[in-house]
């Protein structure tokens, strides 16, 4: 008769808290928040914090994302256009659906920042006494100056040509890299106080003078000198330098290229020369001694060139050239594949004695470039010379230290490697000045992104990125239950008929909406994005959060070490370790 008597129903209600039961004493494995390295960042020569950049972009924090890029790379507008994006080929998402369009997102963020006229007050180290001379305003010199400025060093850039930019200004056509983009990046570097001395060629005498008046000299004048083909009958008139052709085109000239031209080579320069000729109204064919799939040029660029009317002839090597009725006659030897080279490409040999003759109007060589002066090249290993992956330091009595970088020292010669070189050189010099020569190697090692050789300036400066584990996150470590297949964004392009007759930029911007969606695809490998799965899943309410990421922690009084949090972490930002951790 309990109800009728007005008794309360008997329900299992308790006012006791479970706090007295310290379940943490049961634990033998301990969860730990631990951010790790993403393969894209390790794959980026500039070591950009891509997982973090995309996480910020996904939240619409475009400015913060852009700043995060600039911490490691002063040229996002350039790299968002002309970098060969090795980050994408190692992206873990490729094993799920398709890699993140890091390249398109970088360009979006760079353009958005320029469009919104964003500026940032950079936290720079206090001004140092040493003033540095940087020779060459190419990507290596520009980034050297940027990072030196961050580290507190005043510096001056000496550039032979009338404008800064190096290969970016003079060697890459406008349809791939508009001038305004480059100029705004250079302006941002100048805003840090870097003095730009253009029309100021350094010859060996002035070089020695610089070594006396500056505390150190960075030599990064690149490989701007086209290599000759080395064939019979070759003269500077009969075989023209492809890089020179591009330089003149970008100076506003219209170099002679009417009729039919052939371009010898398989790199981006060869493709750019041929496409520039097409835009000037000429016809062009690329002749390459290997096959299309062996060409170092970007596959997309080759495909677009062919769409635009450029011809491609594979497995032919020039052997002689002569004048013929006012035109040129090129003798070519046919090649064939036999076996394999060390790099995996097919090994080429002469196809017997087969030859072919071509009567044409112009020949351009684009088979590689060298330093313009022999003394640009770094000295061979000897006492006083210290070699690194992307630069060489020369210390000798009677002059300030010289540090060689960019194409002069890099095995792979491209913009991203040049940036890596400038960054490494800045770190080497700073450590040398601040801590002495013996600490350089260990200091660099502490800043390695993943398994290297990319370096992080944020880590060098003692930022939070330096606290990450060196573990490189593998695809299998991502909990893909929390991700859905989504289509990768496609960068829009000018139609072939619109682009083949003008130098207008071909690649068009993606929308902010596409950028948000694309950034949202990113696994952010190894990085906590505060998804709160750990908080939601923890059966002991032992995950404590109080506002921001730094305050997210585990209450080890109650964490019983069950590991649910680590299992349900989509991004492998939590690990289970022994109690000793």
């Amino acid at each position: 008769m309990n109800v009728a008597m007005g008794q309360k129903p008997f329900v299992a209600i308790t006012y006791e808290t479970t706090e007295s039961n310290k379940t943490g004493s049961w634990r033998f494995l301990k969860p730990l928040y631990q951010d790790k390295q993403s393969p894209c960042s390790a794959g980026c020569p500039a070591g950009e914090d891509i997982g973090m950049i995309e996480m910020l972009a996904r939240q619409g924090l475009f400015k913060e994302a852009w700043e995060t890029i600039l911490r490691e790379n002063p040229l996002p507008g350039v790299c968002g256009r002309v970098c060969f994006h090795p980050c994408e080929s190692v992206c873990n998402r490729k094993d799920f659906d398709s890699p993140i369009a890091v390249h398109a997102l970088e360009r979006f963020l760079a353009d958005a920042a320029v469009g919104a006229a964003l500026t940032t007050k950079w936290e720079r180290l206090p001004q140092k006494n040493q003033r540095i001379a940087v020779i060459g305003a190419g990507p290596a010199g520009l980034s050297m100056a940027w990072f030196l400025s961050m580290l507190g060093y005043p510096c001056d850039i000496f550039e032979a040509l009338p404008e800064a930019g190096g290969i970016l200004r003079w060697g890459i056509p406008e349809y791939r890299l508009p001038l305004a983009v480059l100029q705004s990046e250079i302006a941002r570097i100048e805003q840090l106080g870097v003095r730009m001395r253009t029309n100021n060629a350094v010859v060996s005498e002035t070089f020695d003078e610089l070594r006396r008046s500056y505390s150190a000299v960075f030599l990064g004048c690149g490989h701007a000198h086209g290599a000759p083909l080395g064939i019979a009958g070759e003269t500077p008139e009969s075989v023209k330098d492809g890089l020179d052709f591009l330089r003149r085109a970008r100076q506003g000239e219209r170099p002679l290229c009417d009729g039919f031209s052939v371009v010898i080579g398989g790199g981006n320069t060869a493709v750019d020369v041929a496409r520039t000729i097409t835009r000037f109204g000429g016809n062009a064919a690329i002749l390459y001694r290997r096959r299309r799939e062996d060409m170092p040029a970007f596959g997309d660029e080759i495909a677009m060139a062919l769409e635009e009317g450029v011809e491609l002839e594979e497995l032919v090597a020039p052997s002689a050239i002569e004048y013929h009725n006012g035109r040129l006659r090129l003798l070519l030897r046919k090649m064939k594949i036999k076996g394999q080279d060390k790099d995996g490409r097919g090994r080429i040999v002469f196809d017997g004695k087969k030859t072919v003759k071509k009567v044409i109007d112009h020949v351009f060589a684009a088979t590689g470039a060298t330093a313009a002066e022999p003394w640009y090249s770094p000295p061979l290993a000897q006492r006083g010379v210290m070699g690194f992956s992307h630069c060489v330091l020369l210390l000798e009595a009677g002059g300030a230290p010289v540090i060689y970088g960019g194409d002069l020292t890099n095995e792979a010669k491209n913009v991203a490697q040049a940036i890596a070189s400038g960054k490494q050189a800045a770190m080497v010099l700073d450590t040398y000045f601040e801590r002495g020569i013996d600490e350089i190697k260990s200091r660099l090692e502490a800043c390695v992104v993943g398994d290297g050789p990319a370096l992080s300036m944020e880590a060098y400066l003692g930022g939070p990125r330096g606290g990450r584990s060196s573990h490189l996150v593998q695809y299998g470590e991502i909990n893909t239950d929390y991700f859905q297949n989504e289509t990768r964004v496609t960068q829009p392009r000018l139609a072939v008929e619109d682009r083949s007759c003008s130098f207008n930029e071909i690649e068009l911007p993606i929308t902010a909406e596409s950028a948000l969606r694309e950034a949202g695809r990113c696994f952010n490998c190894g990085l906590c994005d505060e998804c709160d799965n750990c908080y939601v899943f923890c059966p002991d309410a032992a995950v404590i959060r109080s506002g921001n990421m730094e305050n997210r922690h585990i209450n080890y009084d109650y964490c019983k070490g069950c590991g649910v949090c680590a299992v349900e972490c989509p991004r492998y930002a939590l690990i289970m370790g022994g109690e000793g951790l």
Partner: protein
């Protein structure tokens, strides 16, 4: 005022007048009209209630358990598969002693697909601790829904008001809908036995080890045992205000009957017609309407059936391996009584098959002409069919 209303609307009107505060439901034929009307009322402000959209019936009842713990009056409606999906939460509701009221519109369970009336869905939930009240027409549905809140909140147990797919849910008939003030006199605001309070936090349904689980269950059992009596109290109050009452069971002409038909739901109405005919012909027949199924009103049933020689239990439901479910309960109720009648069981109307007066008359005749009941329920009106499988 009397209005011509669909059965589902009669439920919705009762919920409106009961001033329910939180409603949650997941649509399913033939119940959907109830919550369509109620969601309109919530949206338009005709009701001052929160309507919670949920992704499943399980979540629906889980949400209501939470709401009821917060001390508000709650309601849901479902049918068939939806009720089956709630199964676990049905136990939780009763175990938590929360007075949630549900309209359960009988519909057959699959397989195969069937949307028509069949009581197996609600009867399958007989052990979940819910009070179950079966109705035979729109007026009874309306009245019972109002009574359900009063009863549930008195004994702290959830109530399932059971109606029938289409036969009630989609049938229009006159229903007397009282004014709000009259309903307010019958049903005071909900005064919860407990409610969660963030200022003085406590845990509801924390673990109860073997040392206490049984006592909690026993308290629950005692509350359930009281239900017939409390329901009678509720009906008395209701009758004073509205001049209608139904009873946990309704015994019609049972005192002198030799054969008594036992029915529930809409079959009762049709059986009332038959009863008039048979009585006119001098047959000594009675009718026992089962309104309350849980708790099973053993005393009322035994009292009603005590003078009969034979009882025919008519089930629009089926427990495979045991037969009609009302049959089992009636037999169990009688088994320890002296001079108990013979109990015959019949299965009719599964999956919405029409149960006509002729069908019921056949059952009466079969019962009258049989001396010994079968252990199993007898299936009425089966057609000769060739099985399709294998062709």
């Amino acid at each position: 005022m009397k209005q011509v209303l669909e059965g589902n609307s009669a439920v919705a009107e009762a919920v409106r007048l009961a001033r329910v505060q939180v409603i949650s439901a997941y649509p399913i034929t033939p119940q959907s009209h109830i919550v369509e009307v109620l969601s309109d009322y919530c949206a338009s402000g005709k009701m001052d209630a929160r309507y919670l959209r949920v992704e499943s019936e399980h979540s629906c009842l889980a949400a209501l358990v939470g709401a009821a713990c917060g001390g508000v009056r709650t309601f849901t409606a479902t049918s068939s598969a939806g009720l089956a999906y709630m199964h676990e939460m049905l136990h939780w509701t009763a175990g938590s002693r929360l007075p949630i009221v549900m309209a359960e519109v009988n519909r057959a369970l699959g397989a195969p697909w069937n949307i028509w009336s069949d009581q197996t869905d609600s009867l399958s939930q007989r052990d979940t601790g819910w009070i179950q009240l079966y109705c035979e027409d729109g007026q009874e549905v309306f009245d019972t829904t109002l009574q359900a809140f009063r009863l549930a909140e008195w004994v702290n147990l959830p109530v399932m008001v059971v109606t029938e797919g289409f036969l009630i849910s989609h049938t229009y008939e006159p229903v007397d809908i009282p004014e709000q003030e009259e309903v307010d006199r019958f049903l005071p605001p909900y005064n919860p036995a407990f409610k969660v309070d963030t200022k003085n936090p406590f845990t509801v349904n924390s673990i109860a080890p073997p040392s206490i689980y049984m006592e909690i269950r026993h308290d629950n059992a005692m509350a359930m045992d009281e239900v017939p009596e409390r329901f009678d109290d509720v009906e008395k109050e209701f009758e004073v205000l509205f001049n209608r009452r139904y009873g946990a069971v309704e015994a019609i002409n049972c005192d002198d009957a030799e054969i008594i038909l036992v029915t529930s739901g809409t079959i009762t109405s049709t059986a009332r017609l038959l009863l008039e005919d048979l009585r006119d012909r001098g047959e000594k027949v009675g009718l026992l309407k089962m309104k309350m199924f849980r708790p099973f009103p053993v005393e009322q049933v035994c009292r009603a059936l005590k003078s009969a020689m034979k009882v025919a239990v008519i089930d629009r439901n089926f427990s495979s391996g045991a037969g009609g479910i009302f049959l089992q309960e009636v037999r169990a109720a009688l088994c320890n009584r002296e001079d108990r009648p013979l109990v015959f069981g019949y299965i009719v109307g599964l999956g919405g098959r029409d149960v006509t007066k002729a069908v019921l008359e056949d059952i009466y005749k079969m019962t009258k002409n049989s001396d010994v009941p079968s252990d199993k329920s007898v299936w009425i009106g089966l057609r000769e069919v060739k099985h399709a499988i294998g062709r």
